[in-house]
């Protein structure tokens, strides 16, 4: 009887540790600013569709990067010509 009780206690504590661990992962993810709904949406997709979605996101990132450096260059040219006028 004592052995059975011991076994039950061990099983219960294992479940408890597992649950704590799982709660930790979700908490950690939220703390790091990870959007859980985006992950859930990705998990609904096939591997190929995840890759296609990633490609679209990458294309957007590269476009934004390009636009950013064009804007920065233009800004630098404006500043340079304003500086030259002042001299």
């Amino acid at each position: 009887m004592l052995k059975n009780l011991q076994k039950k206690l061990i099983a219960m504590s294992l479940v408890f540790v597992y649950m704590l661990n799982q709660m930790d992962i979700e908490k950690k993810a939220k703390k790091e600013g990870i959007d859980l709904s985006l992950i859930d949406a990705n998990l609904e997709l096939s591997y190929t569709n995840r890759a296609i979605l990633h490609q679209k996101a990458l294309n957007l990132v590269l476009e934004l990067k390009k636009a950013g450096s064009t804007y920065y260059e233009r800004l630098q040219n404006i500043n340079r010509s304003a500086h030259n006028k002042q001299r």
């Binding site: 799982q22 992962i25 979700e26 950690k28 993810a29 790091e32 990870i34 959007d35 859980l36 985006l38 992950i39 859930d40 990705n42 998990l43 609904e44 997709l45 096939s46 591997y47 190929t48 995840r50 890759a51 296609i52 990633h54 490609q55 996101a57 990458l58 294309n59 990132v61 590269l62």
Partner: protein, 162 residues
Amino acid sequence: MKDFKTLIDRLITNSVDFVIIGGFAAVLYGSTTVTQDLDLCFLFDQKNLEKLLKAILDLHPRHRMIGKTKVMDESIERLSSFKNLYLVTDAGYLDLIGEVKELGNFENVLKHSVEIDLFGHKCKVLDIDSLIKSKKGMARNKDKNVAVELELIKRRLQEKKY
């Protein structure tokens, strides 16, 4: 232009031996990260290098870290002496890694890989546990965040929500 599909299609069609690792492997598992390079664990033997060169020949592969020299200008013997190859091609960055930290060489990585359906091909990807292990072993915060995402994904998969 960065196009992972073009690179993967060509490598598989030419029977190149590789395992997808790194950020793109995380993406395939459902991570929200965006990565610019395709990291592959690669078998650095002459036969595999010949298949690789045939696959990406017209994508003009150049070394990314050694003065953008053309890969085609080098002998297979010299290429097989590299531990890693960091290439830039017309379809994007291609990083070929001979050994993965925490896991070892290609043979070991292959043992820790799973086969998935990608772009209509059967393709080998590092399993999620090994990917978590390798991401945790990296120093960058970006990689540690991906490890957290992957742990969460693993949990969702264990709960069989998907």
